[in-house]
């Protein structure tokens, strides 16, 4: 750990969140236990008080806004994880549904979704917020699907849930970036969802990535999951210019807004 980095951390990161009081920041630093960190504390405290003075009003006010944006994002993530967790659990508990050669894949995915539920609950609790309770799910979406009697439909919805998860986490990046620890954990979950999505897509004879807004042999009801994925303009760069729009769009996964992700999840919530 480099001194400049410690100073930078003290002056920037911690002040974006109300979760880290000054005392906690000290404790965190003290825990690192390196000589450099200890020496840096008085200097860091100086920097902190300066920026605290300068930003007192802004920090207090925007702090609560940041915190609610942060915990709202985690609550949304928890809802999506509840959905995936229950979906795979029911699937695995339904005798004869999942092809025996695919069991190991879904056991692995299910294990991760269960861990994500626990992790997010713990994260919310540690931020002083009560985790949302598990909704009641209807995976038939009012009788439109029969995933637990038709394995192809089970795979179809699994793909839709995983591709949605990837986009939904990405859509919350801006809301969790105020807290570096949470941001990193969210990214670590996000890439696991992407690994799942790729695997399930490939089990359905699709490519692991999404070309244009074509989900790949998916029912029209899942169109909102793929809407916007055809984008080939990234910060003004035309990603289709090199190898065409299929490769250009597939090279980037698009975000889903919280509203759009909630709308998709709501189809399966009673």
């Amino acid at each position: 750990m480099n001194i400049l980095r410690i100073l930078d951390k003290l002056s920037d990161d911690k002040f974006f969140t109300t979760e880290f009081s000054r005392g906690e920041a000290m404790k965190t630093l003290a825990k690192t236990g390196t000589k450099a960190a200890m020496v840096a504390i008085p200097v860091g405290a100086g920097l902190m008080s300066t920026s605290a003075k300068a930003n007192t009003t802004a920090t207090v006010e925007s702090g609560s806004v940041f915190k609610s944006a942060l915990t709202d994002a985690l609550q949304l993530a928890l809802t999506l994880e509840y959905l995936e967790d229950e979906y795979y659990r029911i699937g695995l508990n339904t005798a004869g549904l999942i092809a025996s050669s695919d069991l190991v894949v879904f056991q692995q995915i299910s294990k991760h979704e269960a861990a994500h539920v626990n992790f997010l609950k713990t994260a919310l609790t540690s931020l002083g917020v009560t985790p949302a309770t598990k909704p009641t799910f209807d995976f038939t979406a009012n009788g439109n699907f029969s995933p637990f009697t038709d394995y192809n439909q089970f795979l179809t919805l699994a793909q839709a849930f995983e591709d949605t998860g990837v986009r939904a986490y990405k859509g919350q990046a801006g809301n969790v970036m105020s807290n570096p620890t949470i941001l990193q954990a969210a990214l670590q979950i996000h890439s696991v969802e992407a690994r799942h999505a790729s695997q399930v897509r490939r089990m359905r004879s699709n490519k692991g990535w999404i070309e244009l807004n074509n989900g790949g042999n998916m029912p029209a009801a899942t169109n909102p999951v793929y809407a916007g994925e055809e984008n080939t303009n990234q910060a003004g760069f035309n990603t289709a210019s090199l190898f065409g729009p299929e490769a250009g769009s597939a090279a980037y996964d698009e975000i889903l807004s919280g509203t759009d992700a909630t709308a998709i999840a709501s189809l399966f919530i009673v």
Partner: protein, 276 residues
């Protein structure tokens, strides 16, 4: 620049640095006046050695050795300069500070991946299946798009753009399926861990979103490559990379760069992250 330095010694180093830098600047001015013509040549030569323009992966053994030699010599200079707290204009590119540094870091990794798959698709290993050919071709497309995107995006934001890097693959047998897929797996998993670990250093929300759009595609790649190696198993998101909390790997730049450096011939530093 290591953790053991106390703050007072840091200040001393900084003062020393400022003093040395002024002396250095003064010397440069004198030099400029006296040796205007020859210095220009030196600077031009340095520029060539940084960008390695014109040199390709097919460089002869002699060129390769020559380039490596320059790289090592310059790397040595920077290291000494850093330890002494004196900046030596060694001609080695530093990735930069703040978001520029992160973007150049991502650009370096995307250059590596793009270069690797370019070699793969130009010389597919024998006995490659249709599915494997399709996957590797798509990965080649995506990584080249990522690479060129970063070049354009960074060039639009700053003049401090990482030059084109030179690569080497001493342990890759291009005609061997296991060797190529194992390297692809390592590169994709490394890419995921790198983006996951660098996200928290990004200050501009738009850049974070872009990184997020790319990292999930890297994870999709990693999953597919892992499944090509161990079909139908749990390897696509195996216990070797996903922990008990269901979290993928996240690595600090200081952990990633030394590993990637095994493939990268062109030296660079990233002082803000304590690298070089």
């Amino acid at each position: 620049m290591k953790t053991k330095k106390t703050f007072s010694s840091y200040i001393a180093v900084k003062e020393n640095f400022t003093h040395s830098f002024l002396v250095f600047q003064y010397q440069i001015i004198i030099l400029l006046l006296k040796l205007k013509k020859s210095l220009k040549i030196i600077i031009m030569k340095k520029t060539i050695s940084i960008s390695n323009q014109g040199a390709t992966l097919d460089t002869s053994r002699r060129n390769f050795l020559k380039l490596s030699g320059i790289g090592l010599a310059l790397a040595g200079l920077t290291f000494v300069g850093c330890e002494e707290g004196v900046v030596v204009d060694s001609g080695i590119f530093d990735l930069g500070q703040g978001d520029v540094g992160i973007l150049n870091y991502a650009y370096a990794l995307e250059q590596l991946e793009a270069d690797f798959y370019t070699k793969v698709v130009n010389n597919f290993y024998s006995g490659i299946s249709t599915v494997e050919k399709q996957v590797l071709t798509d990965l080649y497309h995506h990584e080249v798009v990522h690479r060129d995107f970063f070049k354009a995006a960074i060039s639009g934001a700053t003049t401090h753009v990482l030059p084109k890097l030179e690569f080497q693959y001493p342990n890759v047998d291009w005609n061997n399926r296991n060797s190529v897929l194992a390297t692809a797996k390592a590169l994709e998993d490394t890419g995921v861990a790198a983006y996951n670990g660098a996200g928290k250093y990004i200050k501009t929300p738009d850049y974070l979103v872009i990184a997020g759009k790319i990292v999930s595609v890297e994870a999709r790649h990693a999953s597919a490559i892992r499944d090509l190696i161990n079909p139908g198993s749990a390897a696509f998101s195996g216990d070797d990379i996903i922990d008990a909390n269901g979290l993928d790997v996240a690595k600090e730049p200081s952990e990633i760069v030394p590993v990637a450096a095994g493939f990268i011939k062109t030296p660079f530093t990233w002082k803000e992250q304590g690298i070089g």
